[in-house]
Each structure stands twice: as structure tokens, then as C-alpha cells.
Symmetry: C2
Subunit: 134 residues, 2 copies
């Protein structure tokens, strides 16, 4: 997706597409590696030396509230962020810490969800050792 499209998406969700927000959102779109705030900050500050960590935090909050990205809380130490909002699960390797996606359809998950609660989001987090570390 190019800058114009990203801009339009942000605007459609009531977020003013500033330089910084576009940069963060574009980074997440093109790096589907579940980066942390600090990873994104370190990458973008090279181009925008004036960028502030706070701006990255604020942007993550705005994008999350708008439903454009998700927070992945699989790591007890840091929040990870994911621009992939289609249905999928997450796997975290306990050796190398890498977070992987795996496919998962909402139709197979929905029957498992609890009755009587209005579920707005669900996440499936799995831990173990990835093929690369075995």
C-alpha cells in the first residue's frame, strides 16, 4: 500500500495523517514481524532524527483504538504491535523470542468462546520452540 492509500485509511478512521503517523503505520504494514515500540522508534529515528518515542507510543494508541493494528501481549516484558488484523494466532519461541503468525479462521474459534459475555476481541497465544531453534 502506498502513502496515499495509507493516508486515506487513517483519515477514514478519524486520524489526521501526519508525517510521523504515516511513517509508523507504513512501517508496521511493511514489517510484519510484530515489532515493539522501541524497534519502530529505532528504525524511524534514522530518517526523522527529531522523532520522539512518545509520538510512537501515542500513534500506537491511536491506531489501536481505531482498530487498524492490534497489540500482541504474548511477551511479558514488552508490547508488540501487528498491522495484520485478519484472523490469525500467534506463536512465540521461548528460545529466540520471535513471534510468528499462524492461520486461524474466526469460524473455528467462535464456537469456543464463552456464552453470556460480549466478546469484542480474542487472541490465541502459543509458546514453545520454533522449527528454527529445534
Amino acid at each position: 500500500m502506498n502513502k496515499e492509500n495509507l493516508s486515506a485509511v487513517l483519515r477514514q478512521h478519524g486520524i489526521c495523517p501526519t508525517q510521523q503517523r504515516l511513517a509508523v503505520y507504513a512501517y508496521l504494514q511493511s514489517h510484519r514481524t510484530h515489532p515493539t515500540v522501541d524497534t519502530v522508534y529505532q528504525a524511524l529515528v534514522k530518517e526523522q532524527p527529531s522523532l520522539s518515542r512518545t509520538t510512537v507510543y501515542n500513534t500506537m494508541r491511536a491506531l489501536t483504538d481505531a482498530g487498524l493494528i492490534r497489540v500482541v501481549t504474548i511477551d511479558p516484558d514488552e508490547q508488540h504491535f501487528d498491522a495484520g488484523i485478519e484472523d490469525h494466532g500467534h506463536f512465540r519461541c521461548s528460545r529466540c523470542g520471535t513471534v510468528y503468525d499462524f492461520p486461524l479462521s474466526a469460524d473455528t474459534v467462535r464456537p469456543l468462546l464463552p456464552n453470556g459475555f460480549s466478546v469484542t476481541t480474542w487472541d490465541i497465544y502459543t509458546n514453545g520452540v520454533c522449527p528454527h531453534c529445534q
Copy 2:
């Protein structure tokens, strides 16, 4: 489960059943409310004024490593702990913050898990509004 049984369980898992560890484990067994370290500490320090928060942290680590309790990372701010190690999912109310259990059998979850990864633990976290807050 009484003190003697709890003691035996700890010993079977290679954990020396000290006063403090027993107190923490007994608290988790009898309070299935997914308490945080601080909640447990505040409750137990009334009986054991010398109790240290560090001891509670250390005990949580030991019990987790032994597989006697699980960490619930559904709350981005704090870790919650759960003595229920039978299969179940978690629901967190975004209004009141309460974490609920809901039943879930391993047999229904297993087919959803990714191939090629050796999954050692899985968690299903759901968010929304609980019946009490609606």
C-alpha cells in the same frame, strides 16, 4: 487441599515447602480470582508482617517453572497468576478489569494449533464486557 497436601505437592516438584511458599500457593489455590503479585502480597503480609514482595515474586517464578501455576498475561499492566492449570480460557472485562475463566477442552483447541511448531503452552484470551458491567 490442606497444608500437608500442598506441602507434598511442592516437594514432589522439587520446591522446598517453606512457610512463605505454602502461604502463597495456598492463597492461589483458594482464590481463583487471578490475583496479581501485589494482591497476594497485601493479603498475606497481614499475617506475616515480615513478608517481602520479592519473596512473592520468587515464589511465583518457582511455581510457574514447576508448572503448578500459570501466568496470565491478559492485562498489559500487570501479570496475573492462576492456580487452575486444567484447560480453560480467560476473559477480561474492559470495564471492571475482572478476569474470568471459561471452560475449554484441549481436544477442541489442539486442531487449531500450528503445525511444525512444538507447542508447549497455549492460552486463549478474550476481551469485552462482562454480564455484570453490561
